[in-house]
Amino acid sequence: MRKPGLYIPIIIIYLSAALVLIDFFTNNVVEGFASLLGLWASIIMAFAVLVGLGNVVRVHFGRALKRESGYVYSLILLLSAGGVLVGGIIGRVTNLQDDVTNWIYQYIYQPLSTTLFSLLAFLMVSAAIKALRIGTVESTLMLVGALIVLLGQVALQPFGGLSDLAHWFQNYPVMGVLRGVLIGAALGAIATSLRYILGVDNRYLG
């Protein structure tokens, strides 16, 4: 423990964690405590977003003022953020409610997001070629496995025989490895969560 002031937040962490665990494992002892804390977290989140927005404005306003490279994008970002904020307020003041922000989300953000994700198909091919060029045992195995599974899905006759192999590949070696990875990750998640609940990892408290 570095500072006496840390005791209070750590005691709050202990109490909250204990009550959430009791709520999770039992019935009718501290019923609904976890949902109540979830509600409080949502309220805190709303204020935290304001602090985050302050960080965005400070960083990008500073760039625009100093005319750093790419400052035009910072200006566009600030104008966009301001535009959505004003649109949301106008919607609430008038009877439009969330119509304005929903329109922005549906017709501007969503298409942009989909376009960005559609690039992934091309980037996957690019990454696969790069992996093939490296020529390590792991990357070669990965590519051979990917090719077998890919060709096994093709309905054309020459690759029909690969279908069984692809299914065997997915049902046994891949499934076994995935379960191993998931069990290891679950143990890691338990250990990490317990370190935070026990207040051992408390650097964020200052």
Binding site: F25, T26, N27, V29, G38, A41, S42, I44, M45, A48, V49, V51, G52, L53, N55, V56, R58, V59, G62, G70, Y73, Y109, L112, S113, L116, F117, L120, L123, M124, S126, A127, K130, A131, I134, T136, E138, S139, M142, L178, V181, L182, I183, G184, A185, L187, G188, A189, I190, A191, T192, S193, L194, R195, Y196, L198, D201, R203, Y204, L205, G206
Partner: protein, 263 residues
Amino acid sequence: MADLSSGTLISIVIILAFVLLYFYSWAQLERKRAVNLRPLPGLNRLRLMVQRTVETGSKVHFSVGNGGLEGEAGTAETLSGISSLSSVQQVAARSKGSVITTTNDAITYLMADATSDAEYVQSGRLQDYKPEQTLFITQQQNAAYAAGLVSIIAEPNISGTALIGRIGPEYLLLGDMANRLDLPQVVGTTNTQAMPLAIASAGFENTLLGEEVYAAPAYLSRKPSQLASLQVQDVFRILIIIGILGGVVAATLGFNVGDLFLR
């Protein structure tokens, strides 16, 4: 009153055993610090990347992933990312290096900022930490966050990028840009869809898979409190292996033990 099923009781016993074993291992490690860890080259590379920023006057980008801390899937990965950030900022503060951190969630942003600030205070270099070193990019918008990271690592003073936390296949956007710019990259994910893409993009040696994401803080900090959790995980892993083998034998002999573990 409390109505505990056999599954619940087993869960409580497992958690209590985990906690007791953790404190025991921690106490043991405080006495004897030498621990043999299998090498994770990606984390050594991350440490070097941060230390070299002082020579080149550049910055390393560190992301704690796109996860939040509101209890949804990926919270533990984000917490592991925060713990790794703590160790990375400690290296940066001590070696006078520079790290720029990005987040995709407001609470994660506050936590990352407080963690980085605390490491600089601890190293007596509070004046060198600027709030602009921790950036809030978006609030849980994965596509926008990935686009934001791409533009950040494209800045001329970035000499490497690392991501330890929750990330999906959109990592390829970041990885592709890092490859185009010839930037060293280290990535850690537990997402099985993102794993092969991360390996293809960053290379096998620079990718942390599954449990390695949770082991990263221990490798980076070498603190007994972190190493102890690795030891406990190993003990439980061995018990699980024994349990699986025992289950296979029991099922072969016609005994159904699976129902014991159902909640």
